[in-house]
Structure formats: C-alpha cells, structure tokens
Subunit: 328 residues, 2 copies
C-alpha cells in the first residue's frame, strides 16, 4: 500500500455509508481513489466526497480490483457474499456487519480498546455492534482499573440504527398521527412513534434477542475477558439518532467513586459530564461518546451504575470503521 | 359509614383526578355524593361524573365536612397541608402523593399484594409510586414463589406521569419540530420530543434520583422485605401514556422458567404475554399490567429478566387508589 489508499465503500448509499464519507472528509483520511458500491437499485446515483460527485456503481465480485481498503456496511449477507472476493483482490476489508465478528481469526476492534488485535488480521477486520462499541467506550476504562465481572444493561436505541428507511418511518408515523391518519409500518413490526419496542433483531431460543447477546459475546472478545457476563434488554425508542444505555456493572475490586470518575474523564473518545447528564440529542453527530450519572450501585457491593450515550452511526459504525482503517 | 360513600377528590382537575372519576364510573364505586376540589385556578370548572356535571370547588381546610373518603392527588405539599384536616373531619384519606408513603404507621398498599396492611390505618392510606406499583405487580408473585433478593431495573416512563401539562408539552414540541419552529420547555428540563431524559424527580447526594429509590424503599414496605435491594435508572421517554420497566431480578431459590411463567399467568391484575411482548401503546387505558419477555437471566444464576408495562395513571395511580377505597 502507498501512503494514500484506494478505498471502496460497499453500501455507500446507506445511513452508515454516507457517514463514512463524512468521517473520511473530517479526518482527512488519505484517499487516492474512491469507489462507491451499492445494490443495482442505488447504482447511478451520485454522492459528494470532498466537493466532487462520485457515481455509485453496482456491487459485483469484480468490484474490488485495485482497491486497498474495502469498507463494508451493507448487511451480513452482502459481507458473506463479497468480502472474500475483496480479500482475494488484495484489499483489506473493514466489515461493519455481524457476519465475521465472532469468527476466531477475524479481529474485532475498537481502536481505543484493543488496537493491537488488528495485527493478526487475515484480510478481514470486524467492526463491533453499535451498542457494544458505545457501552465499552465507558466500561473498558473502568474494567482496566477495577476488573469487570458482569453488567445489567438496558438500551434506548435510536431508529437510525435500523437504517435510513427507519428514520423516514418515525417521521412519517409522527406526521400521520398528528393529522389523524393511519400509520404505515414497514421497518419496525409495531408503531414506533410515541411508543417503545422491546425488540431489536430476532429472538433466540433463550428469550434474549441477537442484539442483546452481542454485548456479552463481542464484549468478551474485545476485552479479552471470557468470563464477562451481560444481561441486556434492547429497546427501540422514538429518537432519531444516538443510542443510550443504562448500566449496572459489577467489578472484581472495591470501587471508589472519585477514582472511577477520574478514570472516565481521562478515557480517550469519551466525555464524562459532571454537571447534568448526556442525552441522545447531545450525542448525535459527535465522535466522542458521552457518559454521566456515575454512582455507587445500590444493588451490589462492588458496583457502579452509569448512563452512556453515543452516536451509533459514528462511534457505533462509521467512525470506528475509519479509525480501524487509520490503524492500518 | 353507610354502604354508599361521600367522596371528595383533591386535585380533581389533574391527570390522575380525572382518571379517578372514570375508574369509579367503570367499577360502579358506590358514591352517594361527590365533591371535586382543586386549586382556585381550576375552581368553577365542571367535570362530568355519571352523566352529571360537578363544579370544582376551591380546596380549603373546611372542604372535608361530611366526607367519608378523600382521594388526594395534588402533590405532596397539598397532602401534607390538608390530609390531617380531612382525617380530623372523620374522612379516610387515600393519598396518591409521596408525602406519607414512608411514614411507619401509614399503610402503603397495593391491593393485590398487601391488602391486610390496610387494617392498621389511622386515617391515611398511601398509594405507591407508579413505577413501584407496576413493577411489583409482576415481581410480587415471583417473590412469593422464589424469594426476591434484588433487582436491576431501567424505566421507560411516559410523559403523563408528569401530569396533563407534560402531555401538552410533548405534543407541542413535536408539532414545533415538524414546523421547523423553536420548541418550548416548561415541564421538562430538556426537549422530550425525539429524545430521552435520564432524570425523573430530583437528585439525591448518592447520584440516584428520588424516583429511582422509591422502588427499593416502597418495595421493602409493600413486600414486607427489608433486605430487598433495587438499583434503578428512571428515564423519561417520548410516550404519552403507560410506563415500561426492564428488570433483572435475583431470587433466593433456584428459578424454573416454566414455573415462573405459570406464576405470572395466574397473578391477579396481570396479563402475561407468551406471544410477542407488551408495549406502552398496549398498556395505555388498561387496568391490568402487562408482562412479557420472561427469560432466565444470563447475568446471574437464580435470575429472571422480564419486561413490564402498565398505565401509570391507572394501576400506577387512580385505579390503585380506588381499589384501596374498595377495600375499606
């Protein structure tokens, strides 16, 4: 590879794909050429990058000739079907889907937490689930100091985590209700406007959803902590952008509140709010995750409760992917 | 007292007061006379009860002559200032505020859970906090079977828990945002439309809010379980009506999932949903609380995770108060 990279984005027209372009612009990522790839439906449309229009091409197995870095964000099926083709062409794949996250020889990386894992890659590096990435940005520094055992967490997940059509669905349902018209449902199984839906992703036999188990499974891999336990309830809320998580965390060592606050304030990529608390409206559009409401947990002895917000399109997806690409 | 009661409602014009009228109508509560009381601001307005208009009178210390049952729902300050006057007049007070809940000789009652506590009253019976009542409707039957030790809970609380003006605030903010106009904030400290606010009630020195500690404090009293621990995060969400709670609960005895489901299905005042899950839109306007998503908690050994929804104006307030009055 040269000092400047030939980049392809798979799923360029999606909510995360568009954010990837903006993040590369903001961070001056060294792009020598850019290839935008998407389904035939989106092909032909144009997206701006650094003031120039780039036409979206239809994704094919031949799309990855002369590409150094291929950023995938088009769902697990597309990643499974096309990532190996990109690797065979010599590209390094940074995959935002869940397809390869738990594959043993695929590094799963949050650059502030386990950048060294990237070295062992064999062509594919996975980007974690959005809620996992955001939660670990605050939990990892506490883990390093006090030794994380387990968490109980509930999420408040924005609709944009379900893509651009979900943003439209919240808006159109809100307008329909204001006008006294029937609502339309397409992305979510139930009305999301003025409601909350305690389901994100499909149910497993255990009664947990796939989304809920990602925090435990991906957390173990990213933190190198195979004993980590996480009981999570993932809930979709009528918020456009940025996820929030309420967490009770138990640690191996006795916790000290002042020290824990100092740890969070010093953590890279995280802002700890002493006055007030963060909300999704504050986190939307921010690279940093936000934490607040740290307190000694009254449900367990070596416990801390806290509240974390993060833009799931940025740290939860596009930003983390570009940060991984920067590590390369 | 005769078989029919002379009833006064303090705070008749509020969100809960109006629901009390509807609940008494629906349940054919034996009302021989009805006196509606509120602040001078609302006095003179009229509210319907069983097809007849009743004029709201201004509350005074003389308002409780010839009253058998006084239902208070006008905030803690009004209860502290007027409840003893009502008792002195011979009325039994059912108080929906937090003023007397933790006073040792005031029973704090959920009729499905601790109806026998009512017998020891000295004129005042307290109605629990809305989130507490709704959560305990599902936790109590599990406690009776498995022995409750502690819970970790996060709430998704509707704006109507903050009164009628809060309902208006969500609606007007939603409209303003749709029209591209600036929003107005009066009830909530931050924008509630398309946002979530991790604060309900005032903060304590511990970092928890008053609302968050009610589940532990009131839960101990209602369940007669002084060792009960609860770590709670209370969050306001842009939902008009009905609260939701995500709970991880630890028990003394080993739990069995099938047995726990059977326990919930048999619980009075509770509907357990086997298919799908309840949402606030389903619980709004329902007397019964709704539970779903019961599963073995993957964060602890004798644990169950579940999701509970309930109309906080009904079981969380007006319905529970009328049920207490029925027990009298």
């Amino acid at each position: 590879m040269s000092k400047s990279y030939r980049v392809a984005i798979v799923g360029a027209s999606g909510a995360v794909g568009v954010e990837m372009l903006r993040v590369m612009e903001r961070r001056n990522f060294p792009v020598s050429s850019l290839r935008l790839l998407a389904s035939p439906r989106s092909a032909g449309n144009s997206l701006d990058f650094r003031g120039e229009g780039h036409t979206i091409e239809p994704l094919s197995l031949d799309s990855f000739q002369e590409i150094d870095i291929a950023l995938f964000s088009a769902g697990g099926g597309i990643s499974r079907d096309y990532a190996q083709a990109a690797v065979a062409c010599g590209a390094v794949v940074v995959d935002n889907s869940s397809a390869f996250r738990m594959v043993p020889d695929v590094p799963l990386v949050v650059p502030e937490i386990n950048p060294e894992d990237i070295k062992s890659h064999r062509g594919i590096i996975a980007n974690p689930n959005c809620t996992t990435a955001i939660s670990l940005m605050a939990l990892n520094p506490l883990h390093r100091r006090f030794g994380l055992k387990r968490i109980f967490a509930s999420t408040y997940q924005a609709v944009s985590g379900a893509g651009a059509r979900a943003i439209h669905e919240l808006r159109s349902q809100t307008e329909a209700l204001a006008a006294g018209k029937p609502i339309e449902k397409e992305v979510f199984p139930h009305q999301i406007a003025f409601n909350v839906i305690p389901q994100v992703d499909a149910f497993l036999d255990t009664g947990y959803t796939r989304e809920e188990m990602k925090l435990e499974n991906e957390g173990r891999k990213i933190l190198h902590l195979p004993t980590f336990r996480a009981s999570v309830t993932c809930v979709r809320v009528p918020v456009y952008r940025a996820h929030s998580v309420a967490v009770s965390a138990e640690f191996e060592k006795p916790v000290d509140l002042a020290e824990a606050k100092a740890v969070l304030k010093a953590a890279p990529g995280l802002q700890y709010l002493d006055d007030g608390y963060p909300m999704p409206l504050d986190a939307a559009g921010k690279d940093d995750c936000l934490a607040g409401r740290l307190r000694l947990d009254c449900g367990m002895d070596n416990g801390l409760a806290l509240w974390i917000c993060g833009d799931q399109l940025l740290k939860g997806a596009a930003l983390n992917a570009i940060q991984i690409a920067e590590l390369l």
